[in-house]
Amino acid sequence: MALLTCGAAISGATGEDHTVQPQEVQPIQLLAPDGKLAENEVYGPYIAALSAEELRELYRYMVMERRLDAEATSLQRQGQLALWAPALGQEAAQVGTIAALKTSDMVFPTYREHAMALYRGIAPEELLTMFRATRHTGWDPRQHNFQVYTLVLAAQTLHAAGWAMGINQDLRMGSIPRDRAEDEIVVACIGDGATSQGDVHESMVFASSYELPMLYFIQNNHWAISVPTRTQSRGPLANRALGYGFEGVRVDGNDVLASYAVATKLSAEIRAGKGPKLIESVTYRMGAHTTADDPTKYRSAQELELWEGRDPIRRYRTWLDSTGDADQSYFEQVDAESKDLASDMRKSVLALEPIDLERVFDTVYSEPHRQVEAEKAWLKDYEAGFAEETTSTEAGGTR
């Protein structure tokens, strides 16, 4: 019987709620699914300090991301994107966290941090460039302090640790580069699935040993494609931090206010030199893993329904409405803006120019490489041969 239970969990059989952890630790929640804000001595003050404008911005970015996501999904369905990885349902986790950071903090994303990218000023078409496969990446990481997406999962957590080692190095040498801040920290994003990668372990070892200014941001959306979190971990992922000697906090990732408050508190501690911290943001991937996937094959309709009841945007809108900081006309204005974003995005994505293979040759190395140059030259001659053939055929046809 025990074996059967185990097997069911590992295979991700449908019909049960896979989002219940064996050792449940209540995530920090300020805003309940019904939109009621709870009192909280530790985290409440961070929310009280937000202006009406800042509160509205949290809402606006979540709505923008959700609309972008829907448009990208339809672009993929129409054959205009090679792939899309929806972030539907994870808006609050991402927006709340990135809003708590400074723009000088470097973010190392996976490939689903669309709301965070938008927040950092990356244009929708830049974000979709990789998914349209016109180029490997559409934005300049230095311009937004937001690195390129990483598909070989968790590799970026080590780059983040190295970046953080560089921060400490700058501080020791007293030579903070002009474009960096004294109190800079680094954010390493990962999903629940990627926490099983060995690079996460090595990254946390380095972060802990060298007391790096790092925030690990785990979005536990409960599904690594078709495999439930229970197959990655039998305990809360936040607890992993303890094994490395630093603090991990579990937060309700569908609560944008809790996400903001927890990230603000932890990032301030990291800035104060207290070493790395970890956030496990408990959320739910309401859409598919990517557009190549069919979630009905591995998870139940009841489970999805349960999480739809915890929708991050609906609960925040209910609360925001109740505060009087936003009214009906504001919500309508945001809806209109998001529709514009989607239609503008569609146009700009369809207009994306593909990279030339010559440019791919030119960036394999930053200094000349004999074989690359020879192959580039060969391709040019080879293709020129076709051009001549076409020209002579055309010429022949006119005779």
Binding site: P141, T157, A161, G162, G198, E202, F206, T363, V364
Partner: protein
């Protein structure tokens, strides 16, 4: 005071690292046991005492971590020099090297440079246990985005190390560990030839042996031994595996009309095959025999008790040279 000193290869690398650490604040060393111990081969001996624990960094025992954090530091503007303790231990870092380090510049459309140098003590003939004697160069050569060099002398080791560190591209230096204590003159003022070009070390007229790293002294000895048989052998030190200076190798082959390529790595799927194909394309009409390869066998590196039968030596090279003479053209 003369800048020319006699020293073993290991010390030449130490000198190169010291000179780069002194020349550029952004140069850092990272690796296992490279601090107080000075590395298992003592290549970083004394450097932590001289430059501090924050510039000569003892890392956790984690090769993926060493490479991955080196990438992150390089993204921020540092020039990390990562030591991997032994060739066979590079594989936990293989993903970081091939999917991240090699591709970062390309996938960011040239916006992010990752000037990471990886020092990899490599090759056999040291009588050690398994995973301590491997030659993984073909795996890296097949990966676009990496530069790979293999010094064969203290002079080259000194200058290749310095040139690798100042290069904006990732460079793997294959340090032939069996030659760490090979002594030679090092001129720290006059640079050796470009690290990414091959070099003719000995002129000859009858056949060419092209090789790199640990087998260069073997090839020179084979050429000397062949004199007794009235064979004049040219020796080309390939030096750079990526980019490959096929022009210099093919020129020598066209001149002597016979080419043997030697390396410790297995011949199957190895650099020898790549060189043979390139030389055939450039100099087919000049060759009197097919390009022959001398290398390891298609097996995991054997126990050290058998490595003398596995590794190419003078006799194996001369056998290939003689075989080359046995071919008759146009029959």
């Amino acid at each position: 005071m003369s800048a020319i000193k006699e020293m073993p290869m290991a010390k030449a690398i130490t000198a190169a690292l010291r000179d780069e650490l002194a020349a550029d604040q952004r140069t850092l060393l990272i690796g296992e046991d490279i601090g107080a111990l000075g590395g298992v081969f003592r290549v970083t001996d004394g450097l932590q005492a001289e430059f501090g624990t924050h510039r000569v960094i003892d890392s956790p025992l984690a090769e993926s971590g060493i490479i991955g954090t080196s990438i992150g530091m390089a993204m921020r503007g540092y020039r990390p020099v990562a030591e991997i303790q032994f060739d066979g231990f590079v594989f936990p870092g293989f993903n970081q090297i091939t999917s991240q380090l090699a591709k970062m510049h390309n996938r960011t459309d040239g916006k992010i440079k990752v000037p990471v140098t990886i020092r990899l003590p490599y090759g056999g003939h040291i009588g050690s246990v398994e995973h301590h004697s491997e030659s993984p160069e073909a795996l890296f050569a097949h990966t676009a985005g990496l530069r790979i060099v293999a010094p064969s002398s203290p002079q080259d080791a000194y200058w290749m190390t310095r040139q690798a560190i100042v290069s904006d591209d990732p460079v793997i230096i294959l340090e032939p560990k069996r030659r760490y204590w090979l002594k030679g003159k090092v001129d720290t003022e006059n640079p050796a030839p470009d690290a990414f070009r091959a070099q003719v070390l000995r002129e000859g007229t009858d056949a060419t042996i092209a090789t790199y790293g640990p087998l260069v002294p073997v090839a020179l000895a084979a050429a000397e031994a062949a004199r007794a048989d009235q064979r004049s052998i040219e020796v080309v030190d390939i030096r750079s595996i990526s980019p490959l200076d096929d022009e210099t190798i093919a020129r020598s082959a066209a001149k002597t009309q016979r080419l043997v390529v030697a390396h410790e790595a297995p011949t199957f799927g190895g650099m020898g095959g790549e060189i043979a194909a390139r030389v055939a394309e450039r100099a087919h009409h000049r060759l009197l025999a097919p390009v022959l390869r001398v290398g390891g066998f298609h097996m995991p590196y054997p126990p050290a008790s058998q490595e003398h039968r596995y590794l190419p030596d003078i006799d194996r090279m001369l056998e290939a040279v003689e075989r080359s003479f046995s071919y008759q053209r146009g029959v």
